[in-house]
């Protein structure tokens, strides 16, 4: 057996509030495809960043061919032959294929003038190795298919003579044909002795492509690295999720009332496809799925940001049209978006102006803002949500993440919605604020609000939800009631591991 080309020993890395990696040991050999699995937030990205030099480990050692090394930055990483291809491609659309491949290390003569002929020749040679002769190296990258762009990325990595290639969910955006070609390329590279770290959410790919597999969970390696022949999909899912539910998700049992919101065959572009579900008074429905499964996109359809192209929405039984956020608000729908800084807050304006923004119309007298009423309303929500701010006049940019999130919540609760859509309501906020928001959701549901919660944290989904909907590739693929929603079942549905014996989907029939 070949010795490891690169080896991580007891690597730890923490960020404020999070232990991203905890004594992780991991190795890859020449001519091997090593699959790396784990949920969102398990530590895969941090591991990659440490390997490429984007992050420095807090402790532990990295050995390259048995020699301890440090990788101060990604440029250095590339020199050592470590390259990564990310899910989001990082090409310059208006530059040619050849220029992209040699970005940053263009072949040049001794006067520093770029040698275009040499660059194109070498680009062609590299693409030939990838069996991608059909790519014209002089055409701009813009307009290439995703599959071809990815080949350019791989060629770029090879132009650095990469011996260790990290591929982060390379098939996420590919068509089946492109996936087949990619596998072919990966196998070729392996045959040439390149060590490949292959990250994916698609379990079947592990068995098609990888030699060995390592599972990460909460920043630790689960069990040990295994040969793929020693394991199966069900075991891998168990390893990825086998976590105990935190106790601070205090969802009380609720008696769901009548249907408030109903979606029938909603579609928008390629991101929302034939989605149907119902939402009842007083229930919290969790919307689970992998990043890119179309959950936020569905929320934006429901809130009229990207109005549905087909299908029907009913509010309290009546068919309605939602063409913009105003119409959604008028129907009693509120949406707390995923990115509070980008989509939720007026950062340079104060707590009061942010809190009352969505209901300002109700605070007007002859068009003028009624200051006293605005102050009272703001104070009501500052008290109720325990927003910790020195005053209502504080710029929200100066508040902590948790308090900023509460301001966004306050803005929407002030609108007194019947349906509250929460998109990652506790992302990036501290544990205390998180618990407070969970408690609040509970109270709101008790008072009869219908809540649709999008969350990438599985324990949060399972702990808070009366029902769980699972999305995959733009559509709802499974529905579980609270009793049947297990981590294994939800994650298997989210990843499309149909071969698993999970609880059958759709325990509730849609009417």
């Amino acid at each position: 057996m070949a010795p490891p080309i690169i080896e991580l020993r007891e690597i730890s890395k923490s960020f404020p509030g999070v232990q991203a990696l905890d004594r992780v040991s991991f190795e890859v050999r020449e001519g091997e495809v090593h699959a790396l699995l784990g949920e969102n937030g398990a530590g895969k990205s941090t591991l990659i960043k440490i390997l490429t030099g984007a992050h420095q480990p807090d402790s532990g050692t990295i050995l390259l061919r048995g020699q301890p090394i440090t990788i101060p930055d990604t440029r250095h990483g590339l020199k050592l032959g470590i390259a990564a291809i990310y899910q989001e491609l990082s090409l310059y659309p208006d530059l040619s294929v050849a220029e992209n491949i040699f970005m940053g290390h263009q072949p040049s003569n001794r006067f520093g003038v770029v040698s275009w002929r040499q660059m194109q020749q070498r680009a062609r040679a590299i693409l030939h190795e990838l069996d991608a002769d059909d790519l014209d190296v002089s055409r701009p990258v813009r307009g290439l298919s995703v599959g071809n762009q990815q080949r350019v990325e791989i060629a770029k990595a090879l132009s650095h003579d990469a011996r260790i290639l990290i591929m982060d969910e390379p098939t996420a955006a590919l068509t089946q044909h492109d996936v087949d070609r990619l596998f072919e390329i990966v196998r070729r590279l392996r045959a040439r002795g390149v060590a490949i770290i292959y990250i994916t959410h698609r379990l079947e790919e592990v068995f098609l492509l990888a030699d060995r597999v390592t599972v990460l969970r909460d920043g630790r390696v689960v069990g040990e690295t295994m040969h793929v022949s020693q394991t199966n999909q069900a075991e891998l899912v168990r390893m990825m999720v086998g976590r105990t539910l935190d106790t601070f998700f205090p969802k009380d049992a609720a008696e769901p009332g009548e249907v408030v919101l109903e979606a029938r065959n909603l579609s928008y572009g390629r991101t929302t496809r034939n989605v149907s579900f119902v939402l009842r008074r007083g229930e919290i429905v969790g919307l689970a799925g992998l990043v890119g499964a179309g959950r936020s996109e569905l929320a934006q359809v429901l809130f009229g940001i990207t109005p549905a192209e087909s299908g029907e929405i009913r509010v309290e039984g009546k068919p309605v049209r939602i063409r913009n956020p105003r119409e959604a608000m008028a129907l009693g729908i509120a949406y707390v978006p995923e990115d509070r800084k980008l989509q939720g807050l007026l950062l340079r304006m104060n707590v009061r102006e942010n809190t009352t923004l969505a209901v300002l119309r109700q605070l007007l007298r002859y068009g003028f803002v009624d200051d006293a009423a605005e102050m009272r309303l703001t104070q009501e929500y500052v008290d109720r949500l325990q927003i910790r701010t020195p005053s209502q006049m504080q710029q929200v940019a100066n508040l902590s993440g948790g308090n900023q999130q509460k301001v966004v919540l306050a803005k929407w609760l002030a609108a007194k919605p019947k349906v509250l859509i929460l998109d990652e309501p506790t992302r990036g906020i501290d544990v205390g604020a998180k618990a407070e928001i969970h408690r609040l959701m509970n109270t709101l549901a008790q008072q009869g609000m219908a809540i649709l919660m999008i969350s990438s944290e599985l324990p949060e989904v399972l702990g808070m939800s009366d029902r769980v909907l699972v999305m995959r590739q733009g559509t709802i693929v499974a529905e579980f009631d609270r009793a049947h929603a297990t981590q294994e079942a939800v994650i298997a549905a989210a990843m499309g591991a149909d071969a698993l014996h999970t609880t059958p989907a759709a325990s509730t029939t849609l009417t």
Partner: protein
Amino acid sequence: MTTETRAATSAQPSRLLSALRTQEGVLFLVLVVIVIVLSLLSDRFLTVNNLLNQTRLFTETALLALPMTLIIISGGIDLSVGSMLAWSAVMLGFSWQLLGLPLPLAVVVCLLTGAIGGAINGALIAYVRVPPLIATLATLAIYRGFSFGISQARSARGFPEEFAFWGQGQVGPFPTQFLILVVLIVAMHLLLARTGFGRWVYAIGNNELAARYSGIPVERVKFTLYTLSGLMAGLAAFIFTSRVTTTRADAATGLELDVIAAVVLGGTSIFGGSGSIIGTMLGLVIITLLRNGLLLTGVKGDATFMVIGLVLIAAVLINNLVRRR
């Protein structure tokens, strides 16, 4: 000394200090300095007559600067205001002299022309989503073209004497247009600072996406702002025509730069999100007095431009310095 008394004694000056730390406070100080310096240099500068006379000259710029403040706060810009003024003025003369409309009706045509020009800007920007800089750069040229095309390079003259009241007349000691301006300053200040509409303008300039997500009718607000800008250009055209008693197609060429300079000097962020009418007016007064005062002290015109440019930069620097504390 106990901490309590220290707190009590420091309360007064600190309130004064924090008032001066605002952009408006800094501008006010700059204005005071300029007035003192200029009045030392020329004894004709600090006279009631001279100052009131200045208001005649700056009213047109001020009328355009009012909506420009709102537009820049919303994250946009309107470069076409000078051209809209000229087009409106030409339409006034054209409809009165060539079409033979009664003068009051011609004034209505003048105002409508401005409003239509503004509405076209607004529609392009809000609904067709052309970036404001490009949309109004295009209409700057187009409206100027209208002015020349319609007037055929002829100027309308010979307006009746009573028409001069708006641009040359007085009410008590005050120039007529100054009183109109004061009313509009108050109205625009209230609109921006006190109404829901004003709040939306700030919200859009601050974070258009979040504003949209909060149900604010972003398109309608933008459309209204640019239309308002056109309407004010129409009003400025009317007062301008009354003041100079002629309508020319090349009127107000380059005026947009004075307007934008005043707004930015007044502390409105060119990136949107913050600013005030009071600041804009202070900025405008500073520019106007500088120009007038330097003229009176015998400084040549070219040097005046340089001084104004330097003051613009100095004011922004001082403001940055003060705010960083």
